[in-house]
């Protein structure tokens, strides 16, 4: 498999604090790689390091097979676009001027691709409006347009939907899907909003305390996300005794609720509960989603 980005035991220390600790990850070509982690887990630090904004303390990374220790890394970076934390746009310029500015920095021979890119991100009608007067969603889209002007194969988006309204989120999601599906651009996207990420990502990397805990594809995630039945009973102690006898995997959620994993025949459960003078009030099937998978993986509260 061809990888756009690989890191090998990458570390970044700030005095005594270790933001990245022996981080090893692989982003396949053509993927939308969802980077999942809590606040302070190291997502933005990793993105800053691979974008060249900070030097790693130890370890290395490679973009398109070229190591960061190689001087040729700059050529790999030409194939990359990034929106790191906030979009890199000049607020006193229009959308078109921002793209012209970026075209000059890249050394593009002309500005021919600009109208197409503006149309692609939905900013073709902004005219002479300065970027400082754009909405947050428009600024994010302009930031992505600036990242796209060099025709990159790989784009890095750090929390692109933070602070956006629902419509803005949908617009960015559709834009990212279009980039990936129509243009084959590999995307690395970090986000707290797991529900949104689950609609986008083809691969996931879970980071905790600067370390990659797990990497897997969306298909693998689906396979490992356990189905369960959530039951509401009158006596969870009785339920626990019954489930232990039936050798079922379970999780007590409260005085009245519990999740039962794996296959279970409800009629059998009801009969066994009746023997313990316990009634089944309610039951429904539930899939483990990205959020619950992540919580179970790293422990603690939701992101």
């Amino acid at each position: 498999m061809e990888y756009v980005l690989t890191t090998s035991a990458l570390s970044k220390k700030y005095r005594k604090f270790e933001a990245l600790a022996d981080l090893t990850m692989h982003i396949p070509k053509g993927a939308i790689y969802g980077f999942v982690g809590r606040n302070g887990a190291g997502k933005t630090t990793l993105i800053r390091v691979i974008c060249g904004l900070q030097e790693p303390t130890s370890g290395e990374y490679a973009i398109y097979g070229i190591s960061n220790k190689d001087r040729q890394i700059s050529k790999s970076r030409h194939r990359m676009g990034a929106v790191v934390e906030t979009p890199s746009i000049y607020l006193d310029m229009t959308a078109e001027d921002n793209l012209k500015q970026q075209a000059l920095v890249l050394g593009l021979p002309n500005y021919d691709s600009i109208p197409e890119i503006l149309k692609f991100v939905g900013l073709e009608h902004t005219g002479k409006k300065k970027a400082r007067n754009f909405s947050l969603g428009m600024k994010q889209r302009l930031g992505i347009a600036v990242a796209l002007i060099g025709n990159p194969d790989f784009i890095v988006l750090d929390e692109p939907i933070n602070g956006l309204d629902p419509q803005g989120i949908v617009e960015i999601r559709e834009l990212i899907l279009k980039l990936n599906r129509e243009h084959g651009i590999t995307v690395l996207i970090s986000s707290h909003i797991l529900a949104e990420l689950s609609k986008l990502a083809t691969h996931y990397g879970f980071i905790e305390k600067g370390h990659i805990v797990k990497e897997l594809s969306a298909e693998e995630l689906e396979a490992v996300c356990r189905k369960c039945v959530r039951v509401e009973v009158t006596d969870t102690k009785a339920l626990v005794r019954v489930l232990d006898r039936m050798e079922k995997d379970y999780e007590v959620l409260s005085d009245t609720e519990a999740n039962i994993y794996g296959e279970i025949v409800l009629s059998e459960l009801v009969m066994e509960l009746a023997k313990e003078n316990c009634n089944l009030i309610n039951s429904h099937e539930q899939d483990e989603n990205l959020e619950t998978y992540f919580i179970n993986l790293v422990g603690g509260e939701a992101v």
Partner: protein
């Protein structure tokens, strides 16, 4: 590097701040030129106003590169920090020199008849010196701006620096101008009379402190500005027939440019190293 230079120049020329600075520079040139022509008054306050224009322009433009993510973007695209620093400096320097030459151009235009009387060698050395201390001031402002990441703090700091250096230069000028010996004044019939007696001035600064202060006075661009102003002012007087300066002042004309060159190289080297080590977060 050419890509960064083209992008940098475009950014300045597209900004209204540049055009305002251009207008102010033209006004400074006209005002100072007219003042020199009408009254033989060459006031160094115009130079300080010019430096303030440079400070505001560079601080805001460099500050915006930090705040709007311009530097961050260029690094992400694969440009090295060294190239970014050098290109940003060249652009800032060239733009400020454009403002300087516009200002100087108007000054010269209004005083060309008087300046023709000045020896070419003198005029050339004074011009080179003026340009170099201007570049020195631009370098001080630029290096301060690139090392401070926050736009607002950069503007305030560079303004304080420009004004502070001018105040220091004025104080040094005053202190160094005190003669070593002063004639004693006697009072005869209620009127002051100069005697033949000389006493050492109380406030005269002796060596080695004197050498240190002279060094400081020569190295500060505002200090050089005051010294050039004192040299040039009598030369522009239309009533002067013979245009010459003393051997001592000629020696000063020869050495001051080296102070500027030293300041420029030292500051640029230090700032270059610091900028390359900077983390862009």
């Amino acid at each position: 590097m050419m890509k960064l230079l083209r992008a940098g120049f475009r950014r300045y020329f597209k900004n209204i701040l540049f055009w305002i600075s251009l207008t102010v520079s033209a006004v400074i040139g006209l005002a100072s030129g007219k003042s020199a022509y009408d009254n033989a008054m060459v006031d160094d306050i115009y130079v300080i106003i010019g430096f303030i224009v440079f400070a505001v322009l560079i601080a805001l433009m460099v500050g915006r590169e930090f705040s709007d993510g311009g530097f961050r973007n260029k690094i992400t695209l694969g440009h090295t920090k060294g190239k970014i620093f050098i290109s940003e400096y060249i652009v800032a320097l060239c733009v400020c020199l454009i403002l300087f030459f516009i200002s100087a151009g108007f000054f010269i235009l209004l005083n060309i008849s008087n300046m023709k009387k000045i020896l070419p060698e003198l005029l050339t050395k004074a011009s080179i010196g003026y340009i170099l201390f201007t570049i020195s001031m631009i370098t001080i402002i630029f290096t301060t701006s690139v090392l401070i990441s926050r736009k607002a703090i950069t503007v305030v700091t560079t303004l304080i620096l420009v004004l502070g250096l001018y105040i220091v230069a004025c104080e040094l000028d005053t202190a160094l101008s005190i003669p070593e010996y002063q004639q004693v004044i006697d009072w005869v019939d209620g009127k002051p009379v100069l005697t033949q007696e000389y006493v050492k001035s109380k406030n005269y600064i002796d060596s080695p402190m004197r050498e240190n202060l002279i060094f400081l006075f020569n190295i500060i661009p505002s200090g050089q500005s005051i010294q050039y102003y004192k040299m040039i002012k009598p030369l522009l007087n239309p009533n002067n027939i013979i245009i010459f300066i003393s051997e001592e002042k000629m020696q000063l004309l020869n050495t001051l440019p080296y102070y500027s060159a030293g300041t420029i190289l030292t500051l640029l080297s230090g700032a270059y190293i610091a900028f390359r080590k900077k983390d862009f977060i």
